[in-house]
C-alpha cells in the first residue's frame, strides 16, 4: 500500500515538473530530467534481469549504446540523404520515431538475444565476466566504425518526429520519455507478478528446484535478457534525442557499471527503485562535480557505504518494503 502511494506521489511530481519548472523559468532543467528518465528506463530494464532474474549483467551499456546508435544513425542518414543499406534493397534513414525507436529496441534486443544465448550457459562470476567481455567487443567494434565517428561519436542532426509531430524543445521529449518509463514500469510490474515473473523469480531463488519442476529456465532467462536489452536500447534512443549526440562512451564498461549502481542504489527487484537510483546518482554526480574537482573522492566512498550498509537501497526506505532480490 505504502509502496503504491510512494509511486503515485513520484509520478505526480514528475507530471508536475514541467509546469513548475516553466513557472520558475528553469525549463532547461527539464532536459536534465529527460536524461535522468532515459537512464531510469535503462536501469529499470536492467533490474528485470538483475533484480528479478538474478542475472548480474555487466554489459548493459552495450544495449543502451546500440539503441542510441540505431536512432542516431537513422537520423544521420535521413539528414544527408544517404543510404543505410544500399543493397539488395535500398534502405535510407528515417526521422520517424515510430520506425526508429522500435528499430533501436529490435537491434538491441537481437544483440541481447545473441549475447544472452551464449552467456546464459554460464553462472555466477563467469556470467558477470562474459557479459562484460561481449560488451567490450561491441564497444571496440563501434569505435572502429569509420562512417559513424569512432571515438568522436556521432552528431545527431535534429530529433525524431513522433507520428509526424515534432519532438523539438524540452517538454515534448520529456513527456515521451516519461510515458515510455511509466509504460515499462507498469508492464514490468505486471509481468513480474504474472506467470512469467513467477517462474523467473523462482528460478533465481532456486534454480535446481525450478529445473526439477520442469521450468524451462534457460528460455525464460533468455527471454527476459532479450526484453531487457530491447528496453535498454529504447532508452538509448531517447538519450540520443535528448543529447543530439551518440558516443561510444555509452557502450563502455563504466556505463554498464553505473547502470548496476543505479539499480542497487535505488533497490533491486522493485523496478521503482532503479528509477530513484538513476535520478539520485545523476543528480549526485552533477552536484558533486560542481562542488569540487575531486568529486570522485566523495562519490566513491558514498557508493561504498551504500553497498555495505544500505543493502536494500533507497526505495525500500520510502516504500517500507524490500525488493524482490
Amino acid at each position: 500500500m505504502r509502496e503504491r502511494l510512494a509511486a503515485a506521489i513520484g509520478l505526480c511530481l514528475l507530471v508536475a515538473a514541467p509546469f513548475v519548472l516553466e513557472a520558475m523559468d528553469e525549463a532547461f532543467l527539464l532536459s536534465v530530467l529527460t536524461r535522468m528518465l532515459a537512464y531510469a528506463l535503462a536501469a529499470a530494464a536492467l533490474d528485470l534481469v538483475l533484480g528479478y532474474g538474478g542475472m548480474v549483467s555487466f554489459g548493459h551499456g552495450a544495449f543502451l549504446g546500440t539503441g542510441a546508435y540505431v536512432a542516431g544513425v537513422l537520423l544521420h542518414h535521413r539528414s544527408d540523404g544517404s543510404a543505410l543499406v544500399a543493397w539488395p534493397v535500398r534502405i535510407g534513414g528515417t526521422a520517424e520515431a515510430l520506425i526508429a525507436w522500435p528499430a533501436a529496441a529490435l537491434v538491441s534486443g537481437l544483440l541481447a538475444a545473441a549475447i544472452g544465448a551464449i552467456s546464459l550457459r554460464t553462472r555466477g562470476v563467469h556470467f558477470i565476466m562474459i557479459t562484460l567481455a561481449f560488451a567490450q567487443m561491441v564497444f571496440f567494434l563501434v569505435l572502429a566504425l569509420p562512417q559513424y565517428g569512432g571515438t568522436d561519436g556521432l552528431m545527431v542532426p535534429g530529433r525524431n518526429v513522433l507520428a509526424g509531430a515534432s519532438l523539438e524543445g524540452d517538454a515534448p521529449l520529456y513527456w515521451v520519455a516519461l510515458a515510455l518509463l511509466v509504460a515499462f514500469l507498469a508492464f514490468g510490474r505486471s509481468t513480474m507478478a504474472a506467470r512469467f515473473g513467477l517462474a523467473l523469480r523462482g528460478a533465481r531463488m532456486n534454480e535446481r528446484r525450478a529445473l526439477a519442476l520442469g521450468v524451462p529456465v534457460y528460455r525464460l532467462r533468455l527471454a527476459a535478457f532479450t526484453l531487457s536489452g530491447a528496453v535498454a536500447g529504447l532508452a538509448g534512443a531517447v538519450l540520443a534525442n535528448q543529447s543530439s549526440f551518440v558516443s561510444p562512451d555509452l557502450l563502455s564498461w563504466q556505463r554498464s557499471g553505473e547502470l548496476m549502481v543505479m539499480v542497487i542504489l535505488g533497490g533491486q527487484g522493485t523496478l521503482f527503485g532503479p528509477v530513484l537510483g538513476a535520478i539520485a546518482l545523476l543528480a549526485a554526480e552533477e552536484e558533486l562535480a560542481a562542488i569540487t574537482e575531486h568529486w570522485m573522492l566523495i562519490l566513491g566512498p558514498a557508493l561504498l557505504l551504500v553497498v555495505l550498509f544500505f543493502r536494500g537501497g533507497l526505495w525500500p526506505l520510502i516504500a517500507g518494503k524490500r525488493g524482490d532480490g
Binding site: 555487466f58 550457459r121 565476466m129 567481455a133 557499471g257 548496476m260 575531486h294 573522492l297 561504498l304
Partner: protein, 306 residues
Amino acid sequence: MTATLFAEQTLNGLQFGVMLFLMAAGLTLIFGIMDVINLAHGSLYMAGAFVGGTVTARTGSFLLGVVAGAAAGALIALLLELTVIRRLYRRDHLDQVLATYALILTFNEGVKVIWGPAPIFLAAPEMLSGTVEILPGVPYPAYRLAVICAGVAAALFLGWLIGRTRTGMLIRAGTTHRETVQALGVDVGVLFALVFAIGGALAGLAGVMAGPVLAVQVGMGEQILILAFVVIVVGGLGSVKGAMAGALLVGLADTWARAFLPVLLRGLLPPSSADQVAANLGSVAVYLLMAVVLAVRPQGLFPRHA
C-alpha cells in the same frame, strides 16, 4: 614471414602472457580462496606502480622500488580487507562488484590528489635497459626477460605456497571447511587477511614491474584489470594453473592476431578491407577467445571442483 619472425612473435606473446599472469595470479588467488571478486585489484596494481616509482626516484634503486611497490600493495590490501572486503565475504558477487567498483573511483581520485594528474616516471635499472640477442639477429629487451623471470618465480612461489606449506593447506581447507579449520584453532579471519595481502603484494609487484614498460598513470589499473579478468575466466576461476594457461593463451592470441592476421587476410581480401578487418578482429581477439572458450567450456579451461 620468416621462421625467426614467427618465433620472435610467439615469444612476444608468451612474454605478454607472463606479464598478465603477474596481475591475474593475485586476482585468481583471492577469488579462488575467498570467493571474492575484487575489481579494486587494478587499484592495488596502480598503487604499487606509483609507490614503486616514487621510491625508485628517491633512492635511485629499482630493487627498493620493487620491494616498496609490493609492500604497498600488500599493506593497502590488508587495510582494505580489514575495513571493506571482510564485510563482503558472505555477500553475493554483485555486492562485491559494486563495492570494489566504488573503490576504483576512490583510488583513482586519491592517486590524482597525491601524485597529480600527470603520469610519473619509472624506468628499468641501467643493467636491464639493454638488449640480449636471444635468436640470431633478434635483440630482445633484457628487462622483458626479467619480467618473464618474475612471472615464473611468482608462479613457482604460489605453487609452493598453496601446494606444499602448512599455510597453504590451511588456506585450501579454509575455503571449503571453514569450521574444521576453526576447530583446529586457526583464525580464519587472519588467514584470509593474509591471502588478501599476498594477492595485494602480487598486484603491487605487477604494477612496479609494468612501470618501465607501460605508462604509470591514473586509470592504468582498469585497462589491465579487464584483461586479467579475461585471463582468469578463460583459465578457470580460482586456479593458479588456469591463470597461467589463460594468461599465455590470451597473450598469444592477442599478439598473434596483431602480428599475423593482416598478412593472412591479405591473401583472401583486397588490401584495404583486409587491413580494416584484421585491425577490427585484432581489437576484439581476446574477447572473442573468451567467448569461444566459455561457450565450449562454461567453467573455463581448468575448472575448480567445488
